[in-house]
């Protein structure tokens, strides 16, 4: 196929050709970035939690009025919940993954440091890691005699024995604090320089809130502190995935039976909490998908419209060419090549634009760089759409009979 005649024809339709190129370029740039945003969101929604997601349920209670004997009542609650058939483990905790409200503390690596090293989440609760199903990768869990009541520690932080000044941290936090070294036996200094010795490392335990950035998602630690109803009523139960709804109902009934006056403020599976946590990402993904489809559709239809116009305008020329011996395939190929040329210029421009938009997004939305794979993928997609859109008008052109050449319009 000779490209020169196509170029000389296009030169006569500069503005229209330019508009097609511009439309393809804009579409290419937006679609590349939109697809990239979607993959980012999907990746975010797939974030590892480090806990047995499908086996956990949360039941939160709040009590009204003064609460004497909160420890005894907590033990009664826990015993009653443990008795529910199907419940493998239960504990009272200060917070749970994906619930958005969190306890955090600054961490320092030396007692004389004036600027904190980082800020991490503090989990509390007896046998919390076992109940959540977090996997220990080094060291050990806390032993029963190491646990203290949180309210005692809160009342007098100086009374904590050395044996209880210990912590279990996540692998992510360990690698951030001591890259390439074992964290076991090392000491971190919490908030107001409380020294804590690392005795265990778990594979993962996500923070309840990601407001400090997704890259800090795994910066969590667990302290050997036992919770009681005096400091909140956040129960977490572990059971088989199929039993979760039944366990929630049974747990509420058991808790209400022990104290009819209390209020259930939260009841859900951890999977539901996670779904709710990522709802805006899911909505955004759907929206981006909708925009991509609409954009490709508008661009495709625009090409159909302009190509149809060109075909109609060149009917006589086509007729003449046919009369001079050009086959139908020649005519078809002419329009296809023309579209390919325009699409290619559009795609090249679009790639530059896509890169520019990506740079802007990197600045304002902390996005990573657009992977190079997006460029060939985007190019192929737009070439295909261009060819698909031009096919109809090109076929119509190919069917222009040579006799048209002899008629005056």
């Amino acid at each position: 196929m000779d490209i020169l005649p196509i170029l000389s024809t296009l030169r006569r339709h500069k503005i229209t050709a330019l508009l097609i190129v511009l439309e393809i370029a804009l579409t290419c740039a937006i679609v590349c970035n939109a697809v990239f945003l979607i993959t980012q969101r999907l990746h975010r929604m797939d974030m590892p939690s480090g806990v047995a997601m499908h086996e956990l349920v949360q039941v939160q209670v709040a009590t009204i009025g003064a609460q004497p004997d909160s420890r005894a009542r907590t033990q009664e609650d826990l015993a009653a919940l443990q008795r529910i058939p199907g419940v493998e483990s239960v504990t009272l905790t200060n917070q749970l993954p994906f619930t958005n409200s969190s306890w955090n503390s600054s961490i320092e690596l030396s007692p004389t440091q004036t600027q904190p090293t980082l800020n991490a989440t503090l989990y509390r609760g007896e046998h919390l890691l076992q109940t959540l199903g977090a996997r220990l990768v080094a060291g050990r869990h806390f032993s029963a005699d190491e646990y203290m009541y949180y309210e005692d520690v809160q009342r007098d932080p100086t009374a904590v024995p050395r044996s209880s000044l210990i912590v279990i941290i996540t692998q992510g936090l360990a690698q951030r604090l001591w890259p390439g070294e074992s964290a076991l036996g090392k000491t971190i200094y919490l908030g107001d320089r409380v020294p804590l010795r690392v005795v265990g490392v778990v594979a993962g335990l996500i923070r309840p809130s990601l407001s400090n950035g997704d890259n800090t998602a795994q910066w969590s630690m667990v302290l050997p502190l036992r919770m009681s109803l005096g400091t909140g009523g956040n129960y977490v139960l572990r059971t088989k995935p199929a039993e979760r709804q039944r366990v929630i109902k049974a747990a509420i009934a058991a808790l209400k039976k022990l104290d009819p006056k209390r209020v259930i403020t939260q009841q859900r599976t951890l999977d539901d909490a996670r779904a709710q946590f990522f709802q805006s990402d899911r909505a955004m993904t759907g929206l981006l998908l909708g925009v991509i489809i609409a954009l490709l559709l508008v661009t495709g239809l625009g090409i159909v419209g302009l190509a149809s116009f060109w075909v109609a305008q060149r009917r006589r020329t086509i007729g003449v060419r046919r009369a001079l011996g050009a086959t139908r395939a020649d005519i078809l190929r002419y329009f296809q090549t023309e579209n390919f040329l325009l699409a290619t210029i559009g795609i090249v421009l679009g790639m530059v634009l896509a890169y520019g938009i990506n740079l802007l997004l990197m600045q304002h939305y902390e996005l990573p760089r657009l992977p190079w794979m997006y460029f060939p993928a985007g190019a192929i997609a737009l070439w295909l759409i261009g060819q698909l859109a031009v096919l109809g008008p090109a076929l119509r052109a190919a069917h222009v009979p040579p006799v048209v050449a002899t008629r005056t319009v």
Binding site: T114, Q115, V263
Partner: protein, 434 residues
């Protein structure tokens, strides 16, 4: 002439229905998408207290120890009990209120209602007149009630409907955390969005259902909800958060003139210096005094996703418009013959140009109507989202006008180039060709 041009435009648009439909649909899609995004952005970045926001200021001071100190760093975004009380009692502003959020357990007397938690605000008397809170029944409490630690409450219309069936409940009591609170007022519909005075309750959170004097709330140990930021060591045996080195309260002031605002800022610096001399503060004075809109701006309350959506929608509109320019150009140039004849018969370039622009405007009008319907559909979809701002997404009259202005303006702009190209067609050449 205008009527004649309209008629011509209609005829021309009817002649090629597919092309016209393509243009109208493209404009409608672009307008629909951008108006949906723009309306959400408009609603979310609105002024929560119109007419007052310029006079309401949020003082910040820095009472922390030297740990983590960086010169010029931001002070904490809340105040401690001691500083809050000091600033409140200094009465240096026209009005001032110290407050924090919470949840009050309500024990209804009606047997068919279970106990429940109501969102609450513990505050001081000026809160109501300062923020212009409207009352359905009764009124706010006064400073005297704060002093007396009075067992009183102001409740929302929603809670009044739930507990008292919407009747005037002033003088009745509600049982909260085993204490009786006498209702002194019922707030009429009032929902400032964003929830500017305490963003920790959710940026677009629903309003509180119960308002209790701050002094009373600490007496009754009503649960506090919100952010508590602590440093250093809590003195042993301290009474809850009152003596603790923690910031957990919001302090708002009303200052009616810029001069007063400047004077108040100086006062805050002097206060910080004085506290440093007394040994309570360790850092050099770190003072901020932002008004409502500055405070919202500083906290970047409009979700990043909403901004991204707006950019995306306008990118889409741009593609739709480029598409329309192309199609319109094709359409106008195809009528070269007709335009040539008209020009040859004496129509001026200007007349042809006007007529073609009217045709473009009609596409814009049709696209605007289509876009409006799509925007209504889009906003309906947004409202079905679970985000807390979703319910606010409604088209107001301003945005309705903007929709049509944008649609017609954009299409006229898109029609400029094709119309200009078409009216420059040389009449002789076209006639000869035919």
């Amino acid at each position: 002439m205008f009527g004649y041009y309209l008629d011509l435009a209609l005829r021309s648009l009817k002649r090629n229905k597919v092309l016209t439909a393509l243009m109208v649909v493209a404009v409608a899609l672009g307008i629909g998408a951008s108006m949906t995004a723009l309306t959400v952005l408009h609603v979310l970045s609105g002024d929560p207290v119109p007419g007052r926001s310029g006079h309401l200021y949020y003082p910040q001071i820095d009472p922390r120890d030297m740990d983590g100190y960086q010169p010029g760093g931001e002070p904490p975004d809340q105040v401690s009990w001691i500083d809050g009380m000091n600033l409140l009692n200094a009465h240096r502003a026209d009005q001032q209120a110290l407050m924090t959020g919470g949840a009050v357990p309500i024990q209804p007397t009606r047997a068919n209602l279970d106990p429940f938690f109501a969102q609450a605000r513990y505050t001081t008397a000026d809160f109501f007149p300062m923020f212009g809170v409207p009352f359905e029944y009764g009124s706010a409490w006064n400073a005297d009630a704060d002093e007396r630690h009075a067992h009183i409450a102001v409740i929302s219309r929603t809670l009044n409907d739930k507990l008292f069936g919407g009747r005037d409940s002033v003088g009745q009591t509600i049982r909260a955390n085993d204490a009786d609170l006498r209702i002194v007022g019922v707030v009429d519909d009032w929902r400032p969005d964003p929830h500017f005075y305490d963003l920790y309750q959710g940026t677009y959170a629903e309003n509180e259902d119960v308002f209790v004097p701050l002094s009373t709330s600490t007496d009754l140990k009503l649960p506090h909800i919100g952010s508590t930021d602590c440093w250093g060591q809590t003195p042993p045996g301290s009474d809850g958060l009152k003596q603790a080195p923690c910031t957990w309260l919001q302090f708002w002031v009303e200052l009616d003139s810029p001069a007063k605002a400047a004077a108040y800022k100086t006062f805050l610096t002097h206060y910080s210096q004085e506290q440093k001399t007394l040994g309570r503060f360790l850092r050099p004075p770190g003072v901020r005094l932002r008004n409502v809109m500055q405070w919202l701006d500083f906290n970047k309350v409009v979700p990043g996703d909403v901004r991204l959506q707006t950019w995306l929608a306008f990118g889409f509109l741009l593609v739709c418009l480029v598409n329309t320019v192309g199609l319109m150009l094709a359409k106008f140039l195809r009528r070269g013959g007709e335009i040539g004849v008209r020009r040859a018969l004496g129509a001026s370039r200007r007349a042809v140009f006007e007529q073609l622009l009217i045709e473009a405007g009609m596409v814009g009008l049709a696209g605007g109507i289509g876009g409006l319907l799509l925007a209504l559909l889009g906003l309906w979809l947004v409202r079905r989202q679970p985000a807390d701002y979703a319910k606010l997404a409604h088209l107001d009259p301003v945005m309705l006008l903007v929709t049509f202005a944008l649609a017609i303006g954009a299409t006229l702009l898109a029609g400029l180039l094709p119309a200009w190209r078409a009216c420059r067609i040389a009449p002789a050449l076209q006639l000869k060709g035919n």
